[in-house]
Symmetry: none
Subunit: 216 residues, 4 copies
DNA sequence: AATGAATGAGTATTCATTCAT
DNA sequence: AATGAATGAATACTCATTCAT
């Protein structure tokens, strides 16, 4: 990667973030770098390739970091929470890039054949792995499709954080991560088992009292 | 609503579904209806207004039906499941319209000020109401933000169903609805309370056996 | 002229004055009157005919009044001044209509074949008549084309008053009329004839002095 | 100014002159030059910019020439006559461009903020300078606003020459210039001083006859 | 007199990409 | 690596006028 390519990517990232992909012309990028329009095509085959590379540069380190950090977290629920927190934080720290990916890159015709979709799959598969791990170790129920959990988490975060992306609300990644992790892990129900548990506890208490009396 | 407006909307819905909003020209719509281009503008102020009306016509009956059907379902979990099922079924029955809304209408600049966004808010607020209801009746924990549940469910379904929308996979609304409802309600954890329950059950069993023996 | 026609003309005059001819649609006029678009065409053959009638209604009373008032002014220079004043006052009192005529009606292709051009000719010919009168009575030099005076006066006033029409300056019709009349009548020169006169006066004075001496 | 820009301006000038600004499409211009439509926009930001540049190219040399030639004319009346003649000749030599400026460019909304209006102000201010000069040297009366003279001359010429522009009459710049200059300078009045002069001349004649007799 | 739906031609502008230099 | 001029397709929208009712 020559320095010129880096300059182009930096300019493109700034312009795409600020004005969006559609509203940014190749000339804008070239102008920001200080080269002629045609020069862009010495480094990238198309404007879309520039977009994809901008996104890749944003994505890849996150994947690497996530993979490394997950490996250092023992508890499977904490690993899940970390991935949730990481994603929420991406939305709060880089809202423009998240908007770019979701509202501009993903609706593109060839997105699902692109390297970006692949990156995304690699990234979200980390969460699938965590769920599978939890299932293998008996922490998570194994009658749940890990991919459904993945879609639920990433789709959910997208909606939860979209207000922050569009500047209509603010969120705290830690609070969201805590709440969402708990919701995903323990569910919405006031646990039936808790209810039964209460019943059992009462029964046990009664039995123990009976035994006490019998023993006395 | 004159018959001509209806014709225009039907033609537009078909063309938008088949080819997308951007790839459909006003002339295409007029041609499909069999009128001159300008005639469109006697019924709609702009091409975008046609899109919004197409979406509104799709959305509004769903809201009405959902509201009515929910009222007839007693169990709060069943109400939740119904809303989930309804949304998943929308993605399987009308994938093109869902794609149109998510990939073309929603990324538009003025979407969040549009009537469509409002319709969506009204629609998804049904689920918020269900959750609140569940919390009031003690079925659902009340330490969970109902709006977070709403975002989780609708964002999750979007991701879960997207493969079906883009024709890369198939899904069964009933299966998805069951799985997702259970996941949302009871969570991912092999219930800590279940563990404790198991302990309790065993303890109770032991105690009862003891009493049995003592009584015998 | 039915009341409806009058209503249409009044609405058109207001709209043309406020927004200009091009920016006013037939629908605007019909809407202002409270009738259907097509109704306009029961009263006028075209939008342009409405414009021309609006202008005619503005022009004709001015001509009648000018003709009558001129007849009552004895002095030919005062008649000239009156026509100048009348025109300048039109620009200050009805700047929008003047703008409409000059900037929108006159550049039209068929203007010079229109009734409006004819009205204008009739109107400006009053000034030609005044000049001819002045020439016949020896008040004005007869080696000047009256039509040139006409063009000079009306073209000049147009430029003098244009700043007021476009709201970039203000003018007083009386001041302009006085100054312009004097300029037209007596010209710019510190009179050459005054110089010659001075010479003659001196010569006469010398001759008279001589005669005085001779006679004495 | 590249050769391509020049070609575009030449084609545009011809087409604008022949067919008018409104009736000339950008495609017409591009076709006349032999380039693609988009090429125009590499040289000019808009169709209007092409018009303004066409007018500027016509105007600017005239200003330069006028300024230079005026400097070489000693007599202030001759300088005035020259400016009048120059303007009348513009109308006879370049009637289409004059029509373009007066009937198409000047009625435009943003004309008075354009560079063209500025050029016009610079051009007509030459005449203001001449009048001021004449006033300073005592040739012209100083109780006349030079700007009024400017408006009178240029507005007047516009009307005088308009018949020639629209092909309804022919004019001779020299004749017009002579007549107009004299009218502007000496005015319409059969000079009161002339009258007095006539009286003086008669008196002188009488005196001289008397002297003759006395001497004889 | 009135309606009002329908007509349908007409156009400036953008911009990713190429290629001769 | 770089230039930068050239390409050329592609499209929403307006509105004066008509005419069947």
């Amino acid at each position: 990667m020559s320095g010129r390519s880096t300059e182009i990517l930096e300019a493109a990232r700034d312009l795409f973030s600020r004005n969006g992909y559609e509203s940014t012309s190749v000339s804008d990028i070239a102008g920001a770098v200080g080269v002629a329009d045609g020069a862009i095509y010495r480094h990238f085959p198309s404007k879309r390739a520039v977009l994809y590379e901008v996104i890749r540069e944003f994505y890849e380190p996150v994947i690497v970091m996530a993979r490394r950090n997950i490996a250092g977290i023992g508890d499977v629920r904490q690993r899940l929470r970390y991935l949730i927190w990481l994603q929420v934080r991406a939305f709060t720290e880089q809202p423009e890039l998240c908007r770019l990916i979701i509202a501009e890159a993903r609706p593109m015709e060839d997105y699902y054949e692109s390297e970006i979709a692949d990156l995304n799959r690699r990234y979200t598969s980390l969460l699938v792995e965590v769920v599978l791990d939890g299932q293998r170790h008996g922490t998570f129920r194994d009658d749940v499709e890990p991919t459904m959990v993945r879609d639920l988490v990433y789709g959910g975060i997208e909606h939860i954080a979209w207000g922050a992306v569009t500047g209509r609300s603010e969120i705290d990644p830690n609070v969201i991560a805590d709440d969402l992790t708990r919701l995903i892990c323990t569910g919405l129900d006031v646990s039936r088992t808790q209810e039964r548990e209460s019943g059992l506890v009462a029964q046990v208490a009664r039995l123990e009292a009976l035994i006490d009396r019998m023993e006395s």
